[in-house]
């Protein structure tokens, strides 16, 4: 351990495999101070600006918010809150294009600033040393700080690690070309940064604090060295410039000589890394109670008149920043969020600045004439191996692309595709100009999706098996129930009571029902005949109207109601409504018929008569039924019966059912006297929906037959 520090103090650092030296281009912005820009007319705040899950919304459209007011909140550690960057009104909460390479939309808050920039009450903390660790972490968490280097990992998760921390590494390498945001931040705010580092020191109490910074930032190095001169624990490590020194794993390897094992967080090695801008944000949050609402963004590129680092409020549209810096490109707009190596191009300049945005790059066409930006000049890979020479993860990019193109996921796994950090070094040097990283990203997302599918498939399998088991269980239970019921019935029938007689008739009715059903099935098989012209016309009309106003017409002119009434006419009624059981049975029969008839009648008038006949047949076998003119009554009874019968069928096991049934049917029969009771309305609705569906079907059939 000591030897590592000794080595570092001597100025000897390790190295990582590969790496490249792309043109720095930092001079564009490195000599100008950070500029404060005015508040834009509208701020767009994506709910999620970090890795993890979005927090829950705490405000609604029309709310007035104050600067720094919390907008989302969650107790989940991977959910990071966002805050109002300025005071104003929430004008919309809707999907908008977010800062993501896909250019897809996600939920964003739109704030129209009122220009007053009025703060919520703040509690300045003068001495953070008096705060406990939990209080510090709580403050960091409440301030919505997520890693500001690019990935956006929630900071409170990183700092609340339980591991014994050896090294706290502050990443100030800023190895990507063009970007000088951290450089300028260090130069102008090194005391605050030191406060932030001290806060982290308090929380994590690491043995050593290492600040990794590339040697192309002499002024920032000087500022840091001056600021940290009195602190023995902090070592400013000036590293040779090489891309991607700023990669977490690479920086760890350079400074400590250790490799982070695949699939493991650095904290398990006793290492925590924080970006230097995050340190500044932590200091601001803890000391000044300023949540993360602004950050330094390098607005650079030769397509700008005045490239400069700016203090940008989160949510500022990129276009606004570009306009402030004098965007010159008029035709081919190429705007990159992030650096030229790992940034992504934006589909619109309305994309907002988020917590991870460290650079907005607006290059001229000549400046960044990447083969991947200006039409593909990709040729076949000749396996020259330059890519594997520069790969910081020591992968074999040439083999990876070969397998990625062939979608050989097995081979990709063997080649450790997921250890690729997408730094872009391979694609940068590739003489065949193959967009290697792009291939890897596609392959990675495909593999990720495949994994999801596999998990889902496994899950579906489990559920399917469970369902099969449940069905089998139910079947056995039902059979037992049946058996028990049959035994009981037999006993009752043998006893010769009136109840027994009723049972008998019930059995007869059930038999009839089964017969009718069978007949109906046979008929329906036969009745593929198209509707008669009359009926066709009718149903066409019905279909047309149904689409517009399904409920109304269905109740009026629908054949289904006709059919139902037809059935009702022939359906005899039970002697008295008080005889629940009997009525129920009869009604069940009627219901089955009615439903069938209703279906049939729509497709063919012929069917109606046939079903009528069947119903008659069925009913005539029901000895105790008599004709009745009371249509309405039967209808309602039928509806009640329908519901009950179904319930009965599905809940046979439950003994309470019969009690429920009788009481429920009584209730409905009581309500029957009312002309427009709710049951009727509901029934009409159901009928309407059925009719609508049928009409649709007929209409499509008609169309088909017409077209042929």
């Amino acid at each position: 351990m000591a030897s590592v520090i000794e080595r570092i103090k001597r100025g000897h650092f390790g190295t990582f495999h590969g790496g490249i030296h792309p043109p720095q281009q930092k001079f564009l912005t490195s000599d100008k101070p950070i500029r404060a820009v005015s508040i834009p007319e509208q701020l767009i705040l994506p709910l999620q600006q970090h890795i993890g899950i979005p927090a829950e919304l705490q405000v609604k459209v029309g709310d007035k918010v104050l600067k720094g007011q919390i907008l989302t909140h969650s107790v989940h550690p991977m959910a990071v809150p966002i805050h109002a960057p300025t005071s104003g009104t929430i004008t919309a909460i809707k999907n908008a294009v977010i800062a993501h390479p896909s250019g897809l939309s996600e939920l964003c808050l739109f704030i129209t600033p009122d220009g007053e920039d009025k703060w919520r009450p703040r509690h300045i903390c003068t001495d953070f040393n008096q705060l406990s660790n939990n209080q510090l972490i709580e403050k960091i968490s409440a301030s919505g700080i997520a890693g500001m280097g690019g990935a956006g990992f929630p900071t409170q998760v990183k700092v609340s690690t339980r591991e014994d921390i050896q090294y706290l590494i502050i990443n100030a390498a800023e190895c990507e070309p063009y970007i000088t945001a951290d450089d300028l931040l260090i130069r102008e705010h090194s005391p605050s940064i030191l406060d932030g580092i001290n806060i982290l020191d308090n929380i994590l109490s690491p043995k050593h604090i290492l600040i990794g910074i590339e040697d192309n930032k002499p002024e920032a190095i000087k500022a840091l060295q001056q600021a940290t001169a009195e602190n023995e624990k902090i070592n400013v490590c000036v590293l040779p410039t090489k891309y991607p020194t700023g990669g977490e794993k690479q920086l760890i390897q350079i400074l400590t000589g250790q490799e982070v094992p695949a699939g493991v967080l650095p904290s398990s090695l006793g290492i925590v890394m924080q970006n230097i801008a995050t340190c500044f944000a932590i200091a601001d949050a803890v000391i000044n109670d300023i949540p993360l609402i602004k950050r330094v963004v390098t607005v650079s590129g030769q397509a700008l008149e005045k490239p400069q680092n700016v203090w940008s409020l989160l949510g500022t549209p990129v276009g606004f920043l570009l306009a402030q810096c004098g965007y010159l490109n008029k035709d081919k707009k190429h705007i990159i969020m992030g650096g030229p190596m790992m940034g992504y191009s934006l589909p619109t300049d309305q994309v907002p600045v988020v917590k991870t945005t460290n650079c907005i790059l607006a290059p001229t066409e000549k400046e960044i004439s990447s083969p991947y930006s200006t039409g593909s000049k990709e040729v076949e890979c000749i396996r020259c191996g330059q890519c594997s020479d520069v790969c910081p993860s020591q992968l074999l990019p040439q083999e990876l692309q070969w397998s990625a193109k062939a979608k050989d996921q097995q081979q990709l796994a063997i080649l450790n595709l997921f250890d690729c950090i997408e730094c872009g070094a391979c694609a940068y040097v590739c003489p065949s100009q193959i967009p290697l990283v792009h291939y890897y990203r596609i392959a990675k997302s495909e593999i990720r999706q495949q994994k999801q599918l596999d998990i889902k498939a496994e899950h579906a399998k489990v559920r399917f098996e469970a369902r099969k088991e449940r069905l089998a269980r139910d079947k056995i239970a039902r059979e037992e129930k049946h058996k028990a019921a049959a035994d009981a019935r037999k006993a009752r029938m043998n006893s010769g009571s009136t109840a027994g007689n009723n049972e008998k008739s019930a059995v007869a009715a059930a038999l009839a029902r089964v017969r009718a059903k069978k007949a109906g099935q046979v008929e329906s098989a036969k009745s593929a005949v198209p509707a008669t012209p009359e009926n066709g016309q009718k149903s066409q009309v019905a279909a047309a109207i149904a689409r517009a106003k399904a409920k109304k017409i269905a109740a009026k002119t629908n054949p289904a109601t006709e059919a139902t009434s037809t059935v009702n006419n022939v359906t005899s009624k039970t002697e008295s409504p008080t005889d629940d059981k009997k009525a129920k049975i009869a009604a069940a029969v009627a219901k089955a018929k009615a439903k069938k008839l209703a279906e049939k009648s729509l497709t063919s008038i012929e069917n109606i008569s046939i079903v009528k006949k069947e119903v008659n047949e069925a009913l005539s076998s029901d000895a105790e039924t008599k004709k009745s003119a009371d249509d309405k009554k039967t209808k309602i009874a039928a509806a009640v019966a329908k519901a009950k019968a179904k319930k009965l069928a599905s809940q046979k096991e439950k003994s309470i059912t019969s009690v429920e049934n009788s009481s429920a049917s009584n209730k409905v029969i009581i309500t029957e006297t009312e002309a427009k009771n709710p049951a009727d309305v509901k029934k009409a609705k159901i009928a309407a929906a059925v009719a609508k569906a049928k009409a649709k079907k007929i209409a499509s059939q008609q169309e088909k037959s017409e077209s042929t």
Partner: protein, 194 residues
């Protein structure tokens, strides 16, 4: 000793069964699409070839020749080979179900691998003694394995190559085998066996 070594090298490289004698092409084309499979096949074939040449020598020398039944040689050898292959199949099935599945039909088909029968018959033809028979059988199998494994690695790579449609699959594999054969011509004259 040197003789045996020369015999071995000669069989592996100079008179390679697959690329020079063109024996055993069926599994050479059939089980070479994956290196993993090819390695398994190599072990199985090496075992079969060595044991088969050993057994066939014993059968010839101690049964067929004393009884004057040389005319039964081919038949007997097929019997011997079939038994060894069956045995191997059982062992593979038991020890590595995965390999068993990967090899599929080609495992029992070692029986009809002409290289195996070829080794047995060539042993008789070349009048090899007991040790020579074993070395010859083993050498032939090593040669077979060597090119099979190399070929499978090449084919794994070729699987993703942009081969013109009419040449995809077996066609390009045959061309590759031809070019490999050309390369093996380089070993010609390496070992001058009497």
């Amino acid at each position: 000793m040197t003789d045996y070594l020369l015999l071995l090298v000669g069989t592996v490289l100079v008179n390679n069964f697959v690329l020079v004698k063109f024996l055993g092409l069926c599994p050479f084309m059939g089980v070479s699409s994956r290196t993993e499979t090819a390695i398994g096949m190599s072990f199985a074939t090496t075992f079969v070839m060595t044991v088969a040449s050993l057994l066939s020598y014993i059968v010839t020398t101690y049964i067929l020749v004393p009884l004057g039944l040389e005319y039964l040689t081919t038949m007997m050898f097929i019997l011997v080979i079939a038994v060894v292959v069956q045995f191997t199949e059982m062992v593979v099935h038991k020890t590595s179900a995965n390999l068993y599945r990967l090899l599929g039909i080609f495992l029992p088909l070692i029986t009809t691998n002409c290289a195996v029968l070829g080794v047995a018959l060539l042993n008789i033809y070349e009048q090899h003694n007991f040790l020579e028979s074993i070395v010859y059988g083993f050498g032939a199998a090593v040669g077979f394995s060597l090119v099979l494994i190399m070929f499978s690695a090449m084919r794994e790579k070729l699987a993703n190559a942009d081969v013109p449609k009419p040449f995809k699959g077996s066609a390009i594999a045959m061309i590759t085998a031809g070019l490999m054969s050309l390369a093996f011509m380089g070993f010609t004259g390496l070992v001058k066996l009497s």
